[in-house]
Symmetry: C2
Subunit: 239 residues, 2 copies
Amino acid sequence: MNSRRSTPPAGRASAPAASPWRASRERLRDRELKREAVIRAAAREFNRKGYHNTSLDDIAARLEVTKPTVYYYVTNKEQLLFECFVAGVEPIRAAFRDARELPVPARERLKAVLRHYGEAVASEFGWCMVRAEDQDLSPAMSRHIKQLKSEIDHGIRRLIREGVQDGSIEPCDAKMTAFALAGALNWIAHWYREDQSMTGAQIAEAFVTIFEGGLRPRGSASAPGARARTRRVRGSPTR
Amino acid sequence: MNSRRSTPPAGRASAPAASPWRASRERLRDRELKREAVIRAAAREFNRKGYHNTSLDDIAARLEVTKPTVYYYVTNKEQLLFECFVAGVEPIRAAFRDARELPVPARERLKAVLRHYGEAVASEFGWCMVRAEDQDLSPAMSRHIKQLKSEIDHGIRRLIREGVQDGSIEPCDAKMTAFALAGALNWIAHWYREDQSMTGAQIAEAFVTIFEGGLRPRGSASAPGARARTRRVRGSPTR
């Protein structure tokens, strides 16, 4: 079980704390690791059995602790689902922040974000990311989740518009394009377990390649025939 | 209510049947129209309230008929969900059959199928198409749905492979590309009601344009700068 990895490192009890502050820091870190283990175990159970079919007892059993121990880290099951959602989207939000600093065209920044997005959806938090909103949550929780999703959606649209402006992205409808990209990535949560031959990062990279290049062959020296054919059937490339 | 359209045409009762066979044909047609109305009403209720929260009473009430009337057309709620699923995927299966006859490159045939796919997911049957499998159905029903989905998935992969062979599609991983395209289209069912400004056909067309062209600008006379930049960042286009 992965949750075992989150127990305190061996030898901790035998090393005397040098100062009460150090002991306090260690306790905080220990608590954080255990909290993460609770969230990760919950994400796996929700993914496996669905939110409504999973009880805090199930999650406690999975961690080999009692239910009050779980309550020490979260106030209720709804908050636990929310924490799973946040654990899933946080790497995407971080990718947006990191991308802002990159001195590259917007298409490359968008690709960096989409890679993190794909990896997150293929992670154990994927189910919670894409299904949390459907679980009859309280209006406040639902609003909070919608807000975080909307922030990500608008971040993607912004990068697309910036790419069209800096010439790195073909002119397109930013909203529809964002919906198509995010939809393809979100759907990974529905099928990923079926394909264990690729890691989440490999799936994300494959999708980014597809989004970037499109189906229509690129005119290149290696495929002059395809290029000629492409021209013929091009139609209206940008509506 | 759309279901009203499915009641017998006005004047039917007053026109005497010319022969018992004609009357019989009319009865069959009448039954078929009513059956379609039941399926359509069910799809709307499942979409609105979820499968488990919808009863046959709700559907009967929506149609202003009694529950036994609903049972006249379907044996139970599970079969009703299956019929909604079939009503959603049938136009896609028909599109595959029609595409086979088209004397155009495989990319054009694929696009024709994807347009029908997108329209179907944006229709009232979209929720049932993408969510039927999650509803704890009987193993036999679940298998049947999986089989129909797999047939569509493999049809898309086959058209992609044919396109790579005839030069109309950029060489790619057919399975991952099929998953990306279908995922983006399936996800339409999650958001479509939010955007009433475009029809299902318009959404499908917008998505097909995005899939076809990709994000990277096409080298063209109108954007020579973008073309030069594209070459530089191309990397490994097909992994």
